[in-house]
């Protein structure tokens, strides 16, 4: 074979491209202005070949996996492969095209070398605000137009010069103008970093060698994936669950997953899932596919690098009209709520045939809590919005983890008490592990968390909540039990005590107390099989109360 490329060069190029992607990501995170990027690492970067096939990536957020390439494909289709000029940078956020929601933007630029288009570098990053009817998103939108500025693919830079018209338009439509500018600048410089580093690689090896190496890298990924899927017995595997509601109408929203294994191919068929809803749980198809890839990746070679050859043996079927294939003008603000469930359901479906790889469900939703209003101490408007951590599922040989962020949020970090208190008119009364919230089992699920806030501002403030998965809580596997549901209570223990899960702009005043409790993770194996030693430690550490241990685990002192 004269075409065969030296395996040594392939490996050097493979490492170098991933190193370049890490460098892009560092550049983005360190220079970003919005906490979504620098603190929550709500971003992802990739380097692609000119057919938009992934060469290397560095990711903070798993659900951004595999829907950057579609953005490039869409633009290439629109302007033609010859329509790119060196230094052009495109920006977009249309949820029906890229997936996700308005607050996440995609920025990408062509990589030119010696005057020829050789690939692309792309960034997806969460902006602090994209306009819309409420700051940082709302829980009751019924049309995409309420959720913020919708951006089709447009040029943010033209041949290396920032397009001020576009920059100004985007900045002015967002509540934090200079933050928006800063973050867009960070995205641009990350993209250019990718181009520079790829240029160095082309200098060393030439573009043809890099292209050939890419094909070999894809082949390796594909081979590993096919081998892993072939090891699963052929068959159809089912799982289903439901979302509590769509935020506007009351009825439950089923998610149905059928995983079909045939030889070395996997198909994930979502037919029969809920139809597009009135409320903002809808999700663009590109994003649904990305979520299926996460579920797939959790089971198939989770430790291996993703490349353009990964997922080639995965097919996803979504019906037209499904809430998982949203069309204009369906609202998509909370698109990720269904995805957390979907990802866990893929794992559940395959549990009978992949016992070593699976885990019971995790608490599953971002459980977003947001306070806003006027800060009487600092004399300005404020908004603080946070996804909260909960319990993770147990698996063969191990308990689940207590208080860890949900799958769709990846490596997101929580905000500390000292940080919150120094910046916002809130007092944290406690932040703790929620005892007895686990799904019981031989290996028990992780515990949810509980955080209690008190409002400190003299002026009017508002509470927004989007807390899900109270109906399909984290299930157990192999006889393990399901975990406790989440709960939010305002002014607990008083005459006005009231419970909520979802609400928009609920007025709260100084001295009001809000307590959010997140769900636990599911258990693995029967609770009565849990060892006495483990239960003793659980009780000693206060994870389980004695009463709970006796009742659920039949613990005897």
């Amino acid at each position: 074979m004269e075409d065969k490329i030296n395996p040594i060069v392939v490996e050097i190029i493979r490492n170098a491209v991933n190193s370049a992607a890490r460098e892009m990501n560092n550049c983005l995170i360190k220079s970003a202005f919005g906490p979504g990027i620098y603190e929550m690492k709500d971003c992802s970067v990739g380097i692609f070949d000119k057919d938009a096939k992934l060469l290397g990536q560095s990711s903070g957020l798993p659900i951004f996996l595999g829907n950057l390439e579609i953005c490039i494909q869409i633009v290439t289709e629109k302007i033609g492969i010859d329509g790119y000029k060196k230094g052009d940078v495109f920006v977009m956020n249309d949820p029906y095209l890229q997936g996700t929601h308005a607050a996440d933007i995609t920025v990408f630029s062509p990589i030119f070398y010696n005057g020829k288009l050789e690939g692309f570098s792309a960034v997806r990053a969460a902006m602090q605000d994209m306009g819309g009817k409420n700051p940082m998103g709302c829980a009751d939108s019924t049309e995409v137009y309420q959720e913020g500025l919708r951006i089709p693919p447009v040029r943010l830079c033209v041949e290396g010069e920032i397009n001020d018209d576009v920059m100004d338009l985007l900045a002015i439509n967002c509540r934090y103008h200079s933050m928006m500018r800063g973050d867009l600048n960070a995205c641009i410089s990350a993209c250019y970093t990718g181009e520079i580093r790829m240029g160095e690689l082309f200098d060393r090896y030439g573009t043809e060698t890099v292209q050939k190496a890419a094909l070999e890298i894809f082949r390796q990924s594909e081979q590993m994936d096919r081998q892993a899927v072939a090891a699963i017995p052929d068959g159809e595997y089912l799982a289903e669950g439901c979302l509590d509601n769509d935020g506007i109408t009351e009825e439950e929203r089923p998610v149905k997953v059928k995983v079909i294994i045939k030889g070395d191919e996997m198909t994930i068929d979502l037919s029969g899932s809920a139809k597009m809803g009135v409320g903002p749980i809808n999700c663009g198809e590109a994003q649904t596919i990305a979520a299926c890839r996460v579920g797939y990746k959790e089971l198939i070679n989770p430790e291996k690098q993703v490349s353009g050859g990964t997922f080639r043996n995965l097919k996803v079927i979504v019906e037209k009209g499904s809430f998982l294939a949203a069309e204009e003008p369906a609202p998509c603000g909370w698109y990720f709520t269904g995805l957390g469930l979907l990802i866990d359901l893929i794992v559940k479906a395959l549990a009978p045939v992949m016992p070593e790889h699976v885990a019971a469900a995790h608490y599953g939703d971002s459980n977003v809590i947001q306070f806003s209003g006027y800060d009487s101490t600092r004399k300005k408007q404020f908004v603080i919005c946070e996804a909260t951590a909960g319990g993770w599922g147990a698996f063969k040989g191990s308990d689940g983890q207590n208080g860890m962020i949900n799958v769709v949020n990846g490596d997101l970090k929580n905000w500390g008490t000292e940080f919150i208190e120094s910046k916002y008119p809130l007092r944290i009364l406690s932040y703790k592990i929620r005892s007895d919230s686990e799904g019981a089992g031989k290996y028990r699920g992780g515990m949810g968390l509980e955080r209690t806030y008190r409002i400190e501002s003299e002026n009017d403030c508002y509470l927004m909540l989007w807390v899900e998965r109270s109906k399909t809580t984290a299930w157990g596997l192999n006889g393990g039990l399901a975990a406790k549901a989440p709960d939010v209570v305002v002014n607990p223990g008083t005459a006005e005590e009231k419970h909520y899960l979802k609400t928009t702009m609920l007025p709260v005043k100084k001295g009001d107390v809000v307590r959010i409790s997140t769900g636990g993770g599911g258990g693995y194996g029967k609770p009565e099989e849990r060892s006495v030693e483990a239960l003793k430690q659980d009780i000693e550490n206060g994870y389980l109360t004695l009463d709970h241990a006796e009742k659920i685990y039949h613990y005897k002192q």
């Binding site: 395996p7 040594i8 392939v10 490996e11 050097i12 490492n15 170098a16 460098e23 560092n26 550049c27 360190k30 220079s31 202005f33 919005g34 620098y38 603190e39 990711s59 957020l61 200079s178 933050m179 500018r181 800063g182 600048n185 410089s189 250019y192 970093t193 082949r219 390796q220 989770p302 794992v347 885990a359 993770w392 698996f395 191990s398 983890q401 207590n402 208080g403 860890m404 799958v407 990846g410 490596d411 997101l412 970090k413 929580n414 500390g416 008490t417 000292e418 940080f419 208190e421 120094s422 007092r427 009364l429 406690s430 932040y431 703790k432 592990i433 968390l449 550490n541 206060g542 994870y543």
Partner: protein, 670 residues
Amino acid sequence: MSYRLAADVGGTFTDIVLLNDATGVYETTKVLTTPEALEKGILKGFDELAGDKYAEVTSIVHGTTSGLNSVIERRGAHCALVTTKGFRDVYEIARANRPEIYNIHYHKPEPLIPRKDIYEVDERTSFDGTIEKRVTKEIMQEVIDKLRGNYDSVAVCLINSYANTENEKEVCRILEKELDENTIITASYEIAKESREYERVSTSALNAYVAPSTRRHVYALSDELKKRGFTGTLYMMQSSGGVIRAELAASKAVYTLMSGPVGGAIGASVINRDNIIGFDIGGTSFDVSIVVNNRIETTVEAEIEGFPVLAPTVNVFSIGAGGGSIAWNEAGGMRVGPKSAGAVPGPVCYNRGGKQPTLTDANLVLGHMSPKHFLGGRMEMNEEKTYEAFEFYGNQFDLDKITAAEGVCEIANHKMADAIRELTVKRGIDPRKFSILAFGGAGPMHAALIAEMLDIKEVIVPANPGVFSAWGMLHADIRHDTGKTKVSLLNDLQEDDFRRNFDELQEELDEVLKKEGIQGKEKKYLCTLDMRYFGQEYTISVEIPDETIFNKAQIEEDYSKIYERLYGHHSSENIIEIVNYRMTVLVPVNKVSAPQRTSDLPAKALEQIQGYFESKKYDIDIYKRECLVTGSEIHGPAIVVELTSTTIVPPGWKLWVDESDSMIMTSGEE
């Protein structure tokens, strides 16, 4: 005569250096580390070199990885943690993040202090420092009863103690009075007076965890040294690259945890070049540090076993690539590392049962090391088995054994070069303007090849590269760091506040120096501000050259310059916020470079072996390092062997020895 001693205590070996302060002449030895009682190994080495002259030794400095190992192996003290009511779980919850995003079996680092040993006190300080609920003995009583007699070490970390230390101080005062006097109490404000409770509690818990064993070690060592007539000062190496009196180190043990690899970085800063990339290649890892304008790079926050540590730490960047890195086949792709054959079974050539080819094996196949002279000929190498292993490995890719071995080397070298590139470019530094300083056993073997990839023109291999880290420690200044969080906008900052903040820090540092008995000596203060654009989280440290001069415009300009260098853009319309004030005091030690060696004989090759560079076969001259003296010059391809290290001079490179006995390699094009 006056001498100084250093010991670098590693996992397997303890390296000892005895330095004659006047002449710069030094002696070295290597002894086995004695993990059950570190002082034994250290003293064995000391006795060997300085047995008859302890009275003339003015100071001893040592660094150890033992504290770090006790964290890794979970062998630390039985500790308790005392915190604010409502916040018992801050330590376990941590930041709730999940770095392995596709791993549904991911575990957070197991807390060093389990939940049952964490106690709450009903007290509260607000974010602005107002004490809302004071600490009293009555409030503390229940906690005191539970702590008494049950713990070796107690960490105290209260919410918002960075804004006002009163309550935390009071808790510590009460505990000191009520608990056994041997109980070590770690107050978070004394270790890290910065905002962010999880990072602070993590740092405090680590300190509490390692302090008792550090104290035992320091006492045992200084007792033994006294018995031997040593009357000088015993120092410990800190992660910051400075030394601290050993008695003080016992209560700030967390500051010494990452001291293992810093000796090399300090050594690099003494070599007479302004800009150096220093690296060490061991069995499993490749450790890089950077010296810019003669200064070692430090960071204000490090991570140990997944736990954040708010302590100044020399930036040492590691990747899993070393001599033991295994070459393997993944879906028809060649991979090298990060898995390592370790010491057991080790590389194939060690003949201890290793079957998978490693980077060291590749070097042997390529003739990049002399089987006869490895470790001074103390270890016999099995060449035949090594060739077979590469024959078999290469076959899987249709490569002959030489090409396969060359590939493994090249992949590993590229990985290391990529790591250096990421590290330098991330800081806005152009690696081409740097020299490489290579030390450790395998560093000098790969240095010139890595330099070629990075377009670096000069490689330096110091005298005794195998014990370079210990030698470096002898050049560490006495150093103390302090800092405080005080957030304000640069625009709003008043000169009085600016001065007061630094004055307070300076008082604190002078107090520590007084405790150490250092007064009236030459000392140097370094002031920095951690700043960011308002709205950002990450800060950039900006040095204030003279803290007596308050020049806002200059501060802003310096900040913008650094920002531009790091990120390629800066924004004059954004407001700058000051977050932390930091101050460091340095008391310099005598720095002497190694003296030159001379000889009348020309440098002569010991033998010639055959080996490969870029797929071409060469006759390679083997030299003994002893035979190369100041002024010697040899040309590649050549190999220089010495007891603890091997240096490769590729074709097209020349090597000469400078007046400090360092070998300098330059690429022939110049």
